[in-house]
């Protein structure tokens, strides 16, 4: 069923009785051409693009809980492509362009809002760094604008400009950045993949990876063995745990990153502001809540909750940047589990086991990169994103 204004109007007249479920709830088949482990943004996008770009429709996406119940439902919804390095920028910009056409492609309202992402700076040195980053972005054909303090003040007048410790000297703005509705991204990809024949299988936890003679044969799950000669892992947060099922040891530590929302207030911030010096960023949701976050707690954790010292730290940064927020109540806080890779770079690659592919190590930057599998990043991207010769062989070890 295609979603459209006419469909909404028709269903309004029929009392909404004609809506059908957005994706099927299939039982797992004994054998697939490809299995993707992990039903988050990356896993579902992989399933979708395998079907759309590569014509591979006998595909299953397996999810331990319900789709989007992990980090895809726990992030702060920001999308951007304001990267410096030549290996990163074209890759993230490719993702940004996917965001720009995503709703039409998926026939689903993912509420992409290009409200801008503004990175503040507070010193001459930081201005130089921001200018360098902006120039690097523009050399890659990406929009970037360097704002002085007056321009920042005109855009976001409610910030604390008079801070003696971190006076706002300006900001680097990417106007095409912004936010997207994280749950809708998950639902949109699931529905679009399902419509192309991909099986979305929820409540199906992978408990083992069957490998024989260096080749993957399939996965053991709580719903039985499912065979496939190609298995892709997209389970950020738990990548080490799942990869260990195949005997792999990864250059990753799992850390908890907290996020927060305030009570809902009238429109106050119409962009995304990052305060790097205070490890803080903030935007406002359509419901009116301020959505903000800071640094990781800083110790290994698989708990989807953090500790109080970091809550205090983030609240302090919030008040330092937006003094009027001191009278707001914090409504909720939560934590997501991040794959923190040792060099800060993600891994998308083959592994030493034939047929087993790995997508991991996104640190706290996975949401804005729902990517297309087998997309070849431009030359120079290899050091970051994977080399055909198999850098995972260098970056992880088979024990």
């Amino acid at each position: 069923m295609s979603y459209s204004f006419l469909r909404i109007a028709r269903e309004a007249l029929r009392g909404g009785t004609g809506w059908s479920r957005a994706w099927r709830d299939p039982a797992p088949k004994p054998q697939y051409d490809a299995i993707v482990v992990g039903g988050g943004g990356h896993g579902l996008a992989t399933g979708y693009y395998l079907a759309k770009e590569h014509g591979l429709t006998n595909v299953a996406v397996l999810e331990r809980g319900w789709i989007g119940s992990g980090n895809a439902g726990r992030n702060t919804t920001i999308i951007r492509s304001n990267y410096l390095l030549p290996g990163n920028e074209p890759f993230y910009e490719h993702s940004m362009k996917l965001w720009e056409g995503l709703e039409q492609d998926l026939n689903f309202n993912t509420m992409v809002s290009q409200r801008g992402v503004l990175n503040l700076f507070h010193s001459d040195a930081a201005r130089d760094a921001a200018a360098r980053r902006g120039n690097a972005m523009r050399l890659n054909g990406v929009d970037a604008e360097l704002l002085d303090a007056a321009q920042v003040r005109a855009m976001v007048p409610q910030l604390e400009f008079a801070s003696t410790r971190f006076p706002i000297k300006g900001g680097l703005l990417q106007k095409r950045g912004g936010t997207a509705r994280h749950d809708a991204v998950v639902w949109g990809y699931a529905r679009a993949a399902d419509r192309r024949g991909v099986d979305i299988i929820q409540n199906c936890e992978v408990t083992g990876i069957r490998v024989e003679g260096g080749r993957v044969l399939g996965v053991e799950t709580t719903r039985g063995f499912i065979g496939s000669a190609k298995v892709g892992l997209a389970c950020a947060g738990h990548s080490s745990v799942v990869a260990a099922m195949a005997g792999l040891r990864l250059p990753i530590e799992s850390h908890v990153l907290q996020a927060f929302v305030s009570e809902a207030i009238k429109p106050m911030i119409d962009t995304v502001v990052t305060f790097g010096a205070g490890h803080f960023y903030i935007s406002q949701s359509d419901k009116g809540s301020l959505v903000f976050g800071g640094d990781i707690d800083g110790y290994n954790s698989y708990a989807q909750r953090g500790n109080m010292p970091l809550v205090e730290d983030v609240a302090e940064a919030c008040v330092a940047l937006l003094p009027q927020s001191s009278r707001l109540r914090m409504l909720r806080s939560w934590g997501g589990v991040m794959d923190m890779s040792m060099d800060g770079s993600p891994i998308i690659d083959r592994t030493p086991i034939d047929g087993l592919y790995l997508n991991a190590g996104w640190c706290y930057g996975g949401f804005w990169l729902v990517f297309r599998p087998h997309h070849r990043p431009q030359r120079g991207a290899r050091a970051e994103c994977g080399d055909a010769a198999g850098p995972v062989r260098q970056r992880c070890r088979h024990r």
């Binding site: 745990v241 990864l250 250059p251 698989y302 708990a303 040792m342 970056r395 992880c396």
Partner: protein, 88 residues
């Protein structure tokens, strides 16, 4: 999270600096590049009990080996890193 420092008593985790895995053994200086790369990058990253190094930065400044559950944050043991081999 509260950590029982063997020298200073129970203190909030914000007094401590987290260093990371305590178990990787530093290779010999002339070990292969591969052995060094493994030591620097690869981690077991387990769900459950984990030996890790914390420094009581705002207290006695001693390095401690903390055995902590990475899911519940429960702490099972804390010893001074200097005593580690005698205990183990």
């Amino acid at each position: 999270m509260r950590i029982q420092c063997p020298h200073c008593g129970e203190r909030g985790s914000e007094e401590f600096l987290f260093r990371g895995a305590a178990d990787p053994q530093r290779p010999a200086a002339d070990a292969s590049a591969e052995a060094w790369s493994d030591y620097v990058h690869l981690r077991d990253n387990p769900v459950g009990p984990y030996n890790e190094l914390w420094q009581h930065q705002h207290g006695c400044r001693r390095w401690l080996v903390v055995n902590r559950d990475t899911t519940t944050h429960e702490i099972f043991s804390v010893i001074d890193a200097a005593n580690r081999e005698r205990v183990a």
